[in-house]
């Protein structure tokens, strides 16, 4: 493991039923302030990989090792290590558990033992930052999908995690919402892993990218190079982002 690596995943295998592997021989490292994208077709194991890193998969079915900040993710340490991690789930309904948006954003802070005043201050800051102040007292059931997504991101950013795992964060956001999300991601100094099908978002936010297909890493390298490689992208059911395609034609 290199000195600066914040996450190290070493020969990770995972299977839900014990027969078919969902993740197979996953090995990579990410630095402390590095942002890594995970792309791949539906069902390639992107979300599962994020859950594995967050220590949310049944440990009995995970083979291989995951290290967070030089500490091995294991059952006895998972609860403590998870406090350094913020996971934005793909489906906001799986994540939002507070009775109101405001309460939900404060839950992570509450779990980390912040006092009431600090919680209120941070919640207010995140509500403002994500432009959802008017939703503070609303129930998460009553707001739109895009608003739910913003509330999820706000709840995770509020705890200022060292490792941010974003599972399809741009899904359901309007263009302005996406631009704001890109700004937020780029201004955050945490180590990040961002999965998704939105190639432009991955291109604009990450330095490196992992291409997953059928649970295996089929390519890992600089985002600009991998996403521009038409052969890799099309072979694995993906698309070169339009902006890279335009640049390619301009060069020609």
């Amino acid at each position: 493991m290199t000195i600066d690596a914040f996450i190290k995943v070493d020969k990770l295998y995972f299977s839900y039923d014990g027969t078919k592997s969902v993740l197979e021989n996953i090995t990579f490292e990410a630095g402390r302030n590095e942002r890594i994208g995970i792309v791949g077709p539906s069902g390639s194991g992107k979300s599962t990989l994020l859950f594995a890193i967050a220590g949310l998969l049944p440990f009995s079915r995970v083979k291989g090792n995951t290290f967070i900040n030089n500490e091995k993710m294991m059952e006895s340490k998972a609860a403590r290590l998870r406090k350094q991690i913020g996971l934005v789930m793909q489906n906001p309904d799986d994540q939002l558990i507070g009775a109101t948006v405001q309460e939900d954003i404060g839950l992570g802070l509450f779990a980390r033992g912040f006092d009431k005043n600090a919680i209120f201050a941070k919640v207010k800051e995140q509500l403002k930052g994500m432009r959802i102040s008017e939703l503070a007292q609303r129930s998460p059931c009553e707001i739109s999908f895009g608003e739910k997504k913003r509330a999820c991101v706000a709840g995770i950013l509020a705890v200022e995690p060292d490792l941010l795992l974003l599972d399809e964060p741009g899904e359901g956001l309007d263009p302005r919402g996406k631009r704001e999300l890109i700004n937020i991601i780029c201004n955050n100094r945490a180590c990040m892993m961002i999965s998704g099908h939105d190639m432009e978002l991955i291109l604009n936010t990450t330095e490196k990218v992992i291409v997953l297909d059928k649970g295996e890493i089929v390519a890992f390298g600089l985002t600009q190079e991998i996403l521009a490689d038409e052969k890799i992208m099309e072979h694995h059911g993906l698309m070169v982002p339009p902006s890279l395609r335009v640049r390619h034609y301009e060069k020609k």
Partner: protein, 243 residues
């Protein structure tokens, strides 16, 4: 005229008419065959069936529908409290505000799960509607088609049967019949509650609450609650059909 809906007290999912029972049995068999998708599939289908059953057994009587929903709501609320109490015990720390807030939300989730229109709380219905717009996700499309098909077929057969039977809902059938018919509902609610409880427990773990052993994260897989529900439902439906 013999009320069709109450000719078999044990068959809580379907009306008493053999055709209706057959359709419901077929729907459930389709669900079992595709059960590998677990999470929302069985739950949502049963929500549809449950709503239709509620409408059918109430004879479309507004007062009866409201009473049933109130009953389910109360039950769900207290079940939510119980589940959350279990979490508190395990988590070791939780404020009264969150305790009540999440219990209300859990109760609300289960209530809205059976009310179709407000099903954004458990998320499945709204989630599927969102997903179906995304091309290439065959699984979600198929789910939607199958849910649509089974619920359409159910409503096509059960509601006209209820209307034709000319009954006034559970009130006209007497207290014993009403109790007999609604006694199966808590089983379904319990199932939905357990499911929602599991997804919320994952969310809690991911948000930094923890302390209760291995993760409960098991997406898209059968759970004991599913198997139990399937066995019990099949038994009831098959016995109802054979009578």
């Amino acid at each position: 005229m013999k009320p069709l809906l109450f000719c078999n007290r044990n068959c809580f999912l379907a009306a008493g008419h053999p055709v209706a029972r057959f359709v419901m049995l077929l729907s459930l068999l389709i669900h079992f065959a595709c059960g590998g998708w677990g999470n929302s599939f069985l739950g949502l289908s049963l929500d549809f069936c449950l709503v239709l059953t509620l409408l059918a057994i109430s004879g479309l009587n507004k007062k009866a529908v409201l009473s049933l929903f109130l009953l389910i709501g109360t039950f769900s609320f207290f079940m939510g409290l119980l589940i959350w109490m279990g979490w508190c015990f395990n988590l070791g720390k939780a404020s009264a505000v969150n305790w009540i807030g999440i219990s209300v939300r859990m109760g609300g989730s289960v209530c809205t799960a059976v009310s179709i229109t407000g099903s954004s709380a458990p998320g499945e219905f709204g989630y599927l509607l969102e997903k179906i717009k995304i091309p290439g996700r065959q699984k979600d499309r198929l789910l939607m088609v199958m849910h649509g098909f089974t619920s359409f077929m159910s409503s096509f057969i059960i509601i006209p049967l209820a209307l034709r039977a000319g009954i006034g809902g559970i009130y006209s059938a007497g207290t014993r019949a009403a109790v007999s018919i609604i006694k199966g509902l808590p089983l379904m609610i319990l199932h939905r509650g357990i499911r929602r409880g599991q997804s919320l427990s994952i969310a809690l773990e991911a948000r930094g609450f923890s302390g209760f052993g291995p993760s409960m994260f098991r997406p898209s897989s059968w759970k004991i609650a599913d198997v139990l529900l399937c066995v019990v439902s099949t038994f009831i439906l098959v016995t109802g059909f054979l009578k």
